[in-house]
Amino acid sequence: MGSFIARRLLSIVPVIFGVSVVIFLLVQLTPGDSATALLGPQATEEAKQELRQALGLDRPLPVQYGAWLKRTLSGDFGTSIATQIPVTDLVLPRFVNTLILTSSALLLAMIIGYSIGLFAALRAHSAFDRSTMSLSLLAGSAPEFWLGLMLVLLFAIKLKWLPVSGMEDMAGDGGLLDLLKHLILPAVTAALGPAAIITRIVRASLIDTLRRPHVRVARAKGIKRASLLRRHVILNALPSITTITGLQLGYLMGGTLLTEVVFAWPGLGSLLYDSITARDIPVLQATTLLIAFTFVIANIVVDVINAMLDPRLREA
């Protein structure tokens, strides 16, 4: 088990390295650079040259990448070109914000998904099953930014129960209740897609496991449903369920961008988008790496859990 974990952890290194190189190259390929972005209509060649020199952007690419790599490995992620705020000061709070949104959404998705999936599996092919499956498909197929707007219109504008945007009340003092009020709509919007997926997978896994010979035998033996579920069914269905749940976390990390933009939730997704628009390379690199890293870690955690449940997988 230990060597399996070690091997998986080692695999992070080439992947993260690969991501950093790719992102660096992609930005270079993108026309228009930070100097242009900052200078706006004043972006004469002369002004751009001045600014590029001041920012160190006129050095050859490998040198720039090398300098960045050296700094990063020693923990210095540099300063944002657009706002001159140190990158760590920019990225960490946003990371926390996205985590708040993501974990709430994941939690919601898991609660909805596991419960509905379980019930649907136990009543497979019934009217309940069919209707909930259709509803989950519906929820999962709606564009996030559109869904968010609908929810805002209903709950914020019409009913005035919840705020329209942001993470906190601007004029107020904040606090947990304020945060929760602001969290509800974006979390629900972000959760619906993953909830739909989890529901379907849970249902499919459970139905599959329920049909297996050992379960049939247990049923025939007259074992009560609760203990049957606990001991025979759920454990076997777990690998697929944990896989899909872990993957939802990965998706949510980079995928909450649309929700963040619509709700003005100050998270990593919107920071990523802004940094691309502004060609803010240090921020862009740090944010991408963070997202990629989280995604990879989430995958590894899922792999480890699955390997714990099923020793056959430890060969990978």
């Binding site: 657009a82 805002v152 004029a171 502004a278």
Partner: protein, 526 residues
């Protein structure tokens, strides 16, 4: 005194003091309130010397001041008046080369340090003097249009500073009040304490508001400076809130989460008016939306084609149908916000038949043109209208849309031969802006004359205009240049929006001036 009399006096005194106490907090509350402004974009840095955006100026204008200021408290003027700022008066030598500023006494920066001639010199050294140890390289790129005229800066006495220019330029003061590089006064003590890079976190100026905090992506907060030298602000606080999605901005406004938005979607203006929001506009905007015509493009080398394009576009239609009354058609290249603007200036009229004739005369058939445009959040409604108008006279326009920064790079770099037109909306409150887009030597890479227009007569006139001390005479010269530019059909001026700003009914005292930034010290919120 009898017991009753004492008792009555006592209760009366009690009532009096009670009412005094009750009134007192009300008196305090009658001041200001907090204004929350939903901005379409995040500000970049709060260091005025190292920023180029007008949306940032909307914030830094409240915190920093320059030697001279524009009076933004009046809406109905053609251009904001130049008034004393940190310099209570100034003189310009007869040869136009020496500006002597007499500084205001008793002014302090927000950190308590005094404002004096040494502070002014420090600031100039920071953004202009490369030989000084205080020089900040990054600032130079931004403030360059202002600083390239400066020959020297000297301290005459503790309250007097003299700036000597290399050549006379009577638009120079106004040029320093634009957002493309803001030569405003920063506290030297702050720079010494926090370093050049540290000013963004400690933006310490002299203005009516001081910086409180910035949570990037969430809010920037400033509060009233009670030690301000001039008219103190009414508001207690201003919170700038970036909300990029226009639908979210509208919803937040309607829900009372913000009090003010700029650049609202045109189609929502009427509805919001009907719901009790206040819409202010200003017809003298200091910028102009226009199309650069590429003189390197083979088809556009013929003046008849350029004229035809100008005649084929229904500007009034765009102003009425798309801008819904918050737009004004423009026919010249001087923006309404400058003192050289002439509202009666006429050039081309909407005449599709005439356009067709001209094209036929020029022997042009099945003309295909490429029009590069930037990506707008509101969709490309105006550009597709233009596309249709040109189709009606037989010109096929291909729209190529680019993401904003990519587009900027292309626009600033000059159009290649195969591109016929690109567009932009910008300007300044000084008519010398026209130099930047139309002089021969402003062609890229030296400037932003993206279409490579070149007419030596225009250059001569512009050289004269900047030497003209009398604004009335300067206006005449600029108008002459404007006339030649339009006769050459070098650009296609389009429709200006009237800068509609929507505020909640709770906001009092807001003035929408002929500029892109606003004086918030006169505003209060109920």
């Amino acid at each position: 005194m009898s017991f009753q009399q004492t008792f009555r006096r006592f209760t009366f005194a009690l009532a009096l003091s009670a009412s005094a106490i009750a009134l007192a907090p009300t008196a305090v509350l009658a001041q200001g309130g907090t204004l929350i402004w939903g901005m379409p974009a995040e500000t970049d840095t709060l260091d005025p010397h190292a920023t180029g955006g007008w949306s940032t100026y909307q914030v830094t204008y409240q915190i920093f001041e320059g030697l001279v200021k524009e009076d933004l408290t009046k809406a109905d003027v053609p251009t904001p008046e130049l008034i004393p700022g940190l310099a209570k008066s100034w003189t310009i030598s007869p040869d136009g080369l020496q500006y002597t500023f007499t500084l205001r006494e008793g002014v302090k920066f927000h950190d308590g340090t005094p404002f004096d001639a040494e502070a002014v010199k420090f600031n100039f050294e920071r953004f202009w003097d490369e030989s000084s140890p205080n020089f900040y390289k990054k600032a130079k790129a931004f403030v360059i249009a202002y600083t390239k005229w400066i020959k020297s800066v000297e301290v005459v006495d503790p309250m007097t500073v003299r700036v000597t220019l290399k050549a006379p330029n009577y638009q120079w003061l106004r040029q320093g009040l634009q957002s493309y590089g803001q030569p405003l006064m920063v506290s030297p003590a702050a720079v010494k304490q926090y370093g050049n890079e540290g000013i963004v976190a400690h933006p310490i100026g002299t203005g009516p508001f001081k910086f409180v905090e910035r949570d990037q992506g969430v809010k920037t907060v400033i509060e009233r400076n009670d030690d301000y030298w001039g008219n103190k602000a009414k508001l207690d606080k201003v919170i700038f809130r970036p909300l990029q999605d226009p639908a979210t901005r509208i919803n937040a406004l309607e829900n009372g989460e913000i009090h003010m938005i700029t650049t609202p979607p045109w189609d929502e203006i009427e509805r919001l008016k009907g719901e009790g929001f206040v819409v202010t506009t200003n017809k003298n905007v200091p910028y102009i939306n226009f199309i650069h015509l590429n003189f390197k493009n083979p088809a556009l080398k013929d003046i008849r084609v350029r004229k035809a394009i100008n005649m084929a576009i229904d500007r009034e239609g765009i102003a009425n149908e798309i801008y819904r009354g918050t737009g004004r058609a423009e026919y010249g290249m001087l923006s309404p916000g400058t003192d050289a603007y002439d509202p009666n200036f006429k050039s081309f009229t909407y005449d599709p038949e005439g356009a067709k004739k001209l094209l036929a005369e020029a022997g042009v058939k099945d003309l295909k043109l490429v029009f590069e445009i930037p990506q707008y959040g509101t969709g490309e409604i105006v550009e597709t209208w233009i596309q249709r108008d040109l189709k009606k006279v037989g010109i096929d326009v291909e729209l190529r849309k680019y993401e904003w920064v990519t587009y900027l790079g292309k626009w600033a770099g000059g159009m290649p031969e195969d591109v016929a037109m690109n567009e932009i909306g910008w300007g300044m409150s000084t008519p010398s802006w026209i130099d930047i887009v139309s002089r021969c030597d402003s062609a890229p890479p030296g400037g932003i004359n993206s279409g490579y227009y070149c007419n030596p007569e225009v250059d001569k006139l512009l050289d004269q205009a900047i030497l003209e001390r009398d604004p009335v005479k300067a206006k005449e010269i600029y108008q002459k240049a404007n006339r030649i530019i339009m006769d050459d059909a070098a650009f296609v001026p389009l429709v200006d929006d009237l800068q509609p700003i929507i505020t909640s009914a709770k906001v009092k005292g807001f003035v929408n001036p002929p500029e892109d930034w606003y004086d918030l010290s006169i505003v209060s919120v109920e």
